[in-house]
Point group: C2
Chain length 272, copies 2
């Protein structure tokens, strides 16, 4: 297998086991953000360390990633430890270090899922199909953005055409890996961070901003994600509150067949 | 100071430092749930270990607690480590053990907050004042519930009077500590878990259910919480999706003056 045949997401999340709970990895310049890598690829890499571990039991239901410090272009070490394995759940603690510095911490909960009563209360947004919308991009987009085919149906960042008083922070978009790649937990974990900081949707100004802590809840199992294939997913994101340097944001990620795959929450730093 | 003058919340979250990053604590039978303590008091205790630490810098903006296993009535040890301190943020890893068993893990992000642009997009629900609503309680409530004055405006758990087809999982309620206690981060962290599993609101059946992972984002600083005094707070909670043994739920907690204090998210196990 040569580099040209490996999907960028799989290349960027490649981990080499070095001990029972340890992996070595490195950043991929294709997923670079303005400072350090895209938060989504870091979340995906930390989750992959858990999913690839021989002690893994079940599929992820919750993932929290804390971005303690920008990751530099040096290699990184991931330690992933199953701190508790119960009959149906498994709790993981994950730490990414560079030298003596902790750059990211994470926790993951896995579960053996089984059929129960089921219901979706969230409502699939009314949107145009991805084929009817232009792909977002251009020279102002960060490097990592080229790895995603994003088509915005509502809530373009930095849109100065709407009066400020009318604005909300909602963005609804279609997204898939570019090039196409079958959906799995690793790619979904990354997609959950494609929504730009809501402050740049609400206010048409570019301000320094970045994810500080990200939590994703997965509502599908491995089979449910496989069933999505390489189709565009629908995402819709909004914020509740902005103030004193931070805002929250929440997003839903749906399959094109209207299955809610994940809900994801984050707290975002912003300047000014 | 004798026990009769200490608020139950302060008694239950009392920690004795035993080393730089270590504390000893014990469960308080007044905050008992059906199995182990109320999840809120555990979250509050873990956060208190961070806030009481000499290395603390700033106020909490994010807290994630993973309930790995029910806590027994033995004493517990909390290790709270500041894994990274930046200019304006500080990242903590916290582990609660009993003997060799990890029972709970947590992460917290603290920040030195400063004035920025501010806006609240979430909308304060239209509700009757707490004085017009009855206090919830009774012999079926778990023990911990006696420490809260809860008045439900909408979405009573186990309500069989509404047809299932009309039901959603929304509960809107007023809540304060009982007896009254001035609001701070420790009490707010606990209050964020007072919303019963949404599955018991949506379906009028009592099923085994419990929080697996809880994340809270704090939108106020210490002064903002102090300003709430001992007043009832308004909380509103809902779920997005139920299925394969788990559901998510999200809540907002507001001051009576319509200041959004926290947004809180959790994934909940349920049987059947």
């Amino acid at each position: 297998m040569t580099g040209t045949h490996v999907h960028p997401l799989d290349a960027a999340t490649t981990l080499t086991p070095t001990a029972r709970d340890s992996y070595l990895g490195k950043t991929d310049p294709r997923y670079a953000h303005r400072i350090g890598p895209f938060g989504g690829i870091t979340a995906a890499t930390l989750l992959k360390a858990v999913l690839a571990h021989p002690d893994r039991q079940g599929d992820p239901i919750a993932l929290t990633v804390n971005y303690a410090q920008p990751i530099s272009e040096e290699p990184f070490v991931i330690e992933a430890v199953a701190v508790r394995t119960n009959r149906s759940t498994q709790h993981w603690s994950v730490v990414m270090t560079q030298g003596d510095t902790v750059v990211t911490t994470a926790s993951a909960v896995l579960a053996l899922r089984r059929d129960t009563w089921t219901s979706t209360e969230a409502v699939f947004p009314a949107v145009s199909p991805p084929s009817s919308l232009p792909r977002l991009g251009g020279p102002e987009a960060p490097t990592w953005f080229a790895n995603y085919d994003v088509r915005i149906a509502q809530g373009m960042p930095l849109d100065t055409s709407r009066p400020l008083a009318e604005k909300d922070s909602i963005t609804t978009l279609w997204v898939r890996d570019e090039p196409e790649r079958p959906l799995d937990f690793v790619s979904l974990a990354s997609i959950c961070d494609v929504f730009v900081p809501r402050v740049m949707v609400r206010r048409p100004v570019r301000v320094p901003a970045g994810t500080v802590s990200l939590t994703t809840y997965f509502h599908a199992d491995s089979a449910g994600l496989s069933a999505c294939g390489t189709a565009h997913l629908l995402g819709t994101a909004h914020a509740s509150h902005f103030g004193m340097g931070y805002h929250d944001q929440t997003a839903q990620v749906w399959s094109p067949d209207r299955v809610l795959l994940a809900t994801t929450h984050q707290v975002v730093y912003f300047k000014e």
